[in-house]
Every structure is written in structure tokens, then in C-alpha cells.
């Protein structure tokens, strides 16, 4: 469909005005909103993500493209229910809801912000708790939002030490099976992630998105909530 191709193009160009205009056009033409998101904007953002991974785009371009897509999805969102997208999780009927933040004591949020942007671009509904987030706050917010996934990052070895606490507190609260936990950040290795009891680890933002998708899908296949 030409409209979808135009959406892809506008998203890759980070052209917010054009993205919004195409979304309005889709609404006027009664194009299924979820299809517009999945076949248009999300595919565009996939290309953006690939360009970012290859460093053909840098973070400012990634943010501009994500903003353009978000503005378009905001136009489409009120019409989503009409098309039978009810019951799906995440923004625009995306893969799921994520609560994200840098863990207790950690003020360095560049990596977390990139992962957030990439998760949003992949359609996740992402709730950003910011920096220096206490373990208990991750859990409370995840419960409040009925989230699928808690994602915590650390750039310091002294703050990374709170990651096992996140998993153990979930267990103590009887919520370990309720939420998947992902960790990442400069000092975090796959081995440390495993020792911490986390379900997933992302070496970089692109990998984090794939791991998040895998965890949510596996969870839906394996758990009844």
C-alpha cells in the first residue's frame, strides 16, 4: 500500500509533520489504525533502529524519528478500539507494558533512555521511572500498571548490586511469576544477569528490544494471568 510506504519513509526521515499528516489521511480513509502502525510507522522505526545499530543514525536522529512516530500514533490511538485492537497490550496494541528505570543510586541514564526509545519504537508501552529508582518502586509501579516487564539498568558496580534485590523482593512478595525482569548497563554481564536471577539481559538497545519481545511472547505462551 502506497500510504504505508509513505509512512515508512516519513518515519525514517524523522518528519513529524508528514507522519501526522499521513496518520490523519489514514483515519479519513478508514485505514485500520493498527495496520497503519504495524505496516507503516513500526516498520519505519525498525529501519531507524537498524541504522542506529550501524551508527548511521545517532541518538538525536533516533529520538527525532521516535517523536515523529509517537505523534502519528497519538493521532491513530483514539481510533484503535474501533478496529478491534482491544485487549492488546502496549501503545497502539503493541507487545506489552514495560516499567523502566536506572536502579537505586544510579544517576546515569543514557543507556536507559536509548532502550526506552527503542522499546517505544517497537510498540511497547513504556513507563519511565527515571533515575535512582528504589527496588520497591519498580515493583509498585509494575503492579499498578499490570506491566509485563521490569527493566533496570546500572552503570556502576555499586548500584548493580541492587539488581539481585529486585528479583528477590519480587519473590518475597509472591510476584516473581507475575513480572519478567530484564537488566543491562555497562558493568552488567550475561553471567551477572543470570546470577541476579533476571530473566533477560541486553548487551545493547537493539538486543534489549529483541529480548523484551521474546520474554513477553514466551510469557504469554506459558502463563495465564
Amino acid at each position: 500500500m502506497v500510504l504505508f510506504e509513505q509512512m515508512i519513509e516519513a518515519t525514517v526521515a524523522g518528519d513529524q509533520e508528514r507522519c501526522v499528516s499521513l496518520a490523519r489521511q489514514a483515519v479519513e480513509q478508514n485505514v485500520e489504525p493498527l495496520e497503519a502502525i504495524e505496516q507503516g510507522y513500526s516498520r519505519g522505526m525498525s529501519i531507524v533502529g537498524e541504522k542506529f545499530s550501524r551508527m548511521e543514525y545517532y541518538l538525536p536522529e533516533l529520538i527525532r524519528c521516535a517523536d515523529a512516530m509517537k505523534a502519528a500514533v497519538d493521532v491513530l490511538r483514539p481510533h484503535l478500539g474501533k478496529g478491534g485492537a482491544g485487549g492488546s497490550k502496549g501503545a497502539g496494541g503493541g507487545p506489552g507494558t514495560v516499567v523502566i528505570g536506572t536502579i537505586q543510586g544510579d544517576l546515569h541514564d543514557l543507556g536507559k533512555n536509548i532502550v526506552k526509545t527503542m522499546l517505544q519504537a517497537a510498540g511497547f508501552d513504556v513507563h519511565d521511572l527515571g533515575c535512582d529508582v528504589q527496588v520497591r518502586r519498580f515493583i509498585d509501579k509494575a503492579e499498578e500498571l499490570q506491566a509485563d516487564l521490569i527493566a533496570a539498568s546500572a552503570i556502576l558496580t555499586t548500584t548493580m548490586a541492587y539488581m539481585p534485590d529486585l528479583v528477590s523482593l519480587l519473590s518475597e512478595m509472591g510476584l516473581r511469576e507475575r513480572f519478567k525482569v530484564m537488566v543491562g548497563g555497562a558493568p552488567v554481564t550475561p553471567e551477572y544477569a543470570e546470577q541476579s536471577g533476571a530473566d533477560g539481559y541486553g548487551e545493547n538497545a537493539a538486543q534489549a528490544v529483541e529480548v523484551a519481545k521474546g520474554l513477553v511472547l514466551a510469557d504469554r505462551g506459558g502463563n495465564s494471568r
Binding site: Y58, P60, L110, I114, T157, A186
Partner: protein, 459 residues
């Protein structure tokens, strides 16, 4: 003149800006200034000889600093400065810094582009995680290197068998332990009075840092502390508390800046001018006596890539040509200890830095990520190479030819660089001496690097 309390006042009264908006402004302003100042990264000119380009990078960095200011995270306000205030601070910045005492007293001085004065070598495992029982041996391996002008810390996984968590009582205990053990390592190295340039690297909270930096634990008057900016162009009260403490206590201090190439600023050109601007941040907000950069590649977590070598060189030239500031850089390699690749990566960064007027903080290896992957040998490799480069009086043009040959040995391997060997596989822990295997790796690489144009014969 402007003092710390003026900075503090502005942090409470400056313009209010949301942090996300500021992050976006960094990229937008940097992109505009890159275009206006016609700054272009040429992959064939990894170590450029273009003085005019260096001066434009300096001018753009200064313009960015004046336009954006410093973002104070605690108040969400901008701390802004006038051109006159920056000029005054630059004119009155320290010209020397003294570390250590007695026979191990060393003075850091300003270096110029292509300066025959060897770089000051501040040798350190850069907080590499190590088992508690191997902490002293690891840091001793740095302190005992003859070319170590100062040394600093690894990161002990535990203290008293307990993991260290930020903001807990254990963090205070661990910080004190860190200072005690660093001085113990200095004594074990036979250099009890060597300067420790960063006394604390295992405490995020300032209360733990302040509790530990005391004479009775082993801190000496000419030791010091790094005060880190939060990337990009941010500071907070947690860091500024250290400034007040240091003002009263008189220990040395340096600013620490790690802009991420590919992050908020954008590409190499934009990140270069943001990196320059960080030096003004450190000078004005932290009162930094000298400045240590560790610009990093977003995806590779190192700075031995072609674009980062350019960034290190051009920002070094920009700052050392236009100021008398004391500037350093920390090489970050992708490969780990006891590999030929780590020797080549260190040589490349050291070459770019040395001919560009920089001092050296040697060295973070294995992307500064893997536990136990760090040893004094990497500091030896970097310091010996730097001293020979300065002694050879290598020009930037010649350095550019050589660095291309070095890059040819490892550039394609960066994404899959070898992790290398653990400290206890690189050193005999009883004697704290490197293994013959590692010495042989270094010898082989020296032969290769000699073929590329470096001269190790004076060692």
C-alpha cells in the same frame, strides 16, 4: 572572577528547563555549531595536522558552553556563564599540579601539540572489578611501574566478604577500606609516598567518599579525587558536595568527562565540541586543576575506534593550543589483557593522545566491563609507548601514517575483540610480576610497532 558559591547560586536561580528538553538541545545546538564552524571528520586524517580545524573545534566548544551552560539535575536549572567569566577562569587555571611526596613527588605540567615532554602517566585499572583477596596485588601492579607518576584503584567485589551497595553503611566501610588498601599497595610497591590521584572509586555517594578521605586512613596531602560530570553537560549537588570538601581540605582534584559518541550530542564532530565544553564545566563548576576525558563509542564501549581516535586528537589539540589547561585522556580498549590487540589499541590511543598534547590515565581494557581483566602491564605498555613517542618527537603527520598501520591490525576485530586473560593469569600473585607469556606478547608487538615507525630502542 567567579567562585563556587556563585555557581551554586546560579544552580538555584538559573532558567528552569526540563531535563529531556536539555538533552535534545545538546544535540541540536551541537549540530548547528558543527555546521557553522565547518567541522568535518575525515577518516583518513585520524590524527589531523590542521591547526585551523583544532581552533574551530575549540571555538565551537566554547560557543556551546556559553549557549547551553551546565544543567543542574537537582534543581532542573541552567548554570550559565559569560564569555568574560570563562576567559578569566581559563587565564587563572592551574599551570601545574603536584602529586606524591619525597622521592615520588611528581609535577604535571601543560603539554603542547607535538611536545617532547612525556605525558604524565596516571596509572590505574579504572575501577576494574577484582576479588577482595586480589585487590592489593592488582593495584600494586600499577603503583610499582617505574613510569607510574600516580596510581589509583580497582573495585573490590566485596569488602569483609560483603558486596558494596551504593547508599548503604557498607559503602562507607568500603570507601575507608579502599583508601587503607591503596596506601598498603603503595608500600608493597616500595613507593609509600606515591600520589594516589583518585582515592575513591567504589563509592557513589559523597558521604562515603568524605568519610574515607582522611589522613589516618592513608590519604596524603598531595593525593586527590576525580569529580565527574554527568554526561552530557550536567552536574548535581552530590558532585558539588565534593567540591566544597576539597576546597576545605586541599586535596588535588580533577574533572572527569565521558561523552558518548553516538549519544545525545550525535556523531564524532558534535561529540568533539561537547567534549571540549565539558572542560569548561569542570573548570568553572568543580574548580578542576586538570581534566581527564574518557570519550567512548556508544556501541563498542571503547575509544580505540577510528572516529574516537580523531576525537581524542582534535579535542586535545583544540584545548592545548588555545589554553594552558592540563588535559588527559583515558584509553579504553575493546580487547583484554595479554592479547596482541590490547597492545595495539593502547599504542594507537597513546599515539593520538601524546602528539596532541595530552596526558594519560592508563588504562581501561576489555571495555572496562569484565571482572579481573586488568593489570599493570597495560599501564607499562601505554607509559613506555608514550615516553618513546614524545622522545622521538613524532609529528602529527607522521603519527597519522603510523596510526593507520596500527588500526589495520585491529579495527575490524573491535566488535569481537578477545576478552584476554584474568589478572591472576597475567601476573604471578606471589611476586606481583607479569608472566613470561605477557612479556612475550608485548615484545612481539613492540617489534611490529617498530616496523610501523615507533622506536622502542631507548627503553
Amino acid at each position: 572572577m567567579i567562585g563556587f558559591w556563585d555557581v551554586y547560586k546560579r544552580s538555584e536561580a538559573g532558567p528552569f528547563v526540563k531535563e529531556q528538553e536539555f538533552d535534545r538541545q545538546v544535540g541540536a545546538v551541537a549540530a548547528r555549531l558543527v555546521a557553522e564552524h565547518e567541522i568535518h571528520f575525515d577518516p583518513q586524517q585520524v590524527i589531523p595536522s590542521d591547526d585551523a580545524l583544532a581552533d574551530r573545534v575549540f571555538a565551537a566548544g566554547l560557543a556551546l558552553f556559553l549557549e547551553l551552560g551546565i544543567y543542574c539535575r537537582d534543581t532542573s536549572r541552567l548554570i550559565k556563564f559569560s564569555p568574560e567569566e570563562v576567559r578569566w577562569a581559563l587565564q587563572h587555571a592551574p599551570r601545574t599540579v603536584t602529586y606524591g611526596q619525597g622521592p615520588d613527588q611528581r609535577v604535571m605540567r601543560h603539554r603542547s601539540v607535538e611536545d617532547p615532554l612525556p605525558p604524565f602517566c596516571l596509572n590505574t585499572p579504572v575501577g576494574c572489578t577484582v576479588a577482595e583477596e586480589r585487590f592489593v596485588a592488582m593495584v600494586q601492579s600499577y603503583a610499582q611501574e617505574p613510569l607510574s607518576d600516580t596510581f589509583s584503584s580497582a573495585f573490590s567485589q566485596t569488602v569483609g566478604g560483603r558486596p558494596i551497595k551504593s547508599g548503604t553503611p557498607q559503602e562507607v566501610e568500603a570507601a575507608i577500606w579502599n583508601v587503607v588498601k591503596l596506601r598498603e599497595a603503595a608500600r608493597a610497591a616500595g613507593r609509600p609516598l606515591i600520589g594516589i590521584h583518585n582515592l575513591i572509586s567504589n563509592a557513589e555517594k559523597t558521604d562515603a567518599t568524605l568519610a574515607a578521605i582522611q589522613e589516618e586512613f592513608g590519604a596524603h596531602p598531595n593525593d586527590g579525587l576525580g569529580v565527574a560530570a554527568i554526561a552530557e553537560m550536567k552536574a548535581d549537588y552530590e558532585r558539588m558536595k565534593k567540591v566544597v570538601f576539597l576546597d576545605h581540605k586541599g586535596f588535588n582534584r580533577y574533572g572527569l568527562y565521558g561523552p558518548i559518541m553516538g549519544g545525545y550530542a550525535g556523531g564524532p564532530e558534535a561529540t568533539a565540541i561537547v567534549h571540549v565544553a565539558h572542560h569548561f564545566l569542570g573548570l568553572l563548576a568543580f574548580g578542576a586543576q586538570w581534566h581527564d576525558g574518557f570519550p567512548l563509542h556508544l556501541m563498542q564501549g571503547c575509544n580505540s575506534t577510528r572516529d574516537l581516535l580523531w576525537l581524542i586528537s582534535i579535542t586535545g589539540q583544540a584545548l592545548t593550543r588555545n589554553t594552558h589547561l592540563l588535559i588527559g585522556v583515558s584509553p579504553f580498549t575493546a580487547a583484554g589483557p595479554c592479547t596482541e590487540m590490547v597492545v595495539h589499541e593502547i599504542a594507537a590511543v597513546v599515539l593520538a593522545a601524546t602528539v596532541s598534547g595530552l596526558h594519560l590515565n592508563l588504562a581501561a581494557v576489555a571495555r572496562n566491563k569484565l571482572p579481573e581483566r586488568s593489570s599493570g602491564m597495560e599501564a607499562r605498555i601505554g607509559a613506555e609507548t608514550a615516553h618513546r613517542i614524545a622522545g622521538q618527537r613524532i609529528t602529527r603527520a607522521r603519527a597519522n601514517e603510523i596510526v593507520h598501520r596500527i588500526l589495520g591490525t585491529y579495527e575490524a576485530e573491535i566488535p569481537k575483540a578477545p576478552n584476554g586473560k584474568r589478572f591472576d593469569e597475567c601476573y604471578d600473585l606471589k611476586t606481583v610480576r607479569p608472566t613470561q607469556e605477557y612479556l612475550d606478547v608485548y615484545e612481539r608487538c613492540k617489534e611490529r610497532l617498530t616496523g610501523f615507525g615507533l622506536d622502542y630502542s631507548g627503553l
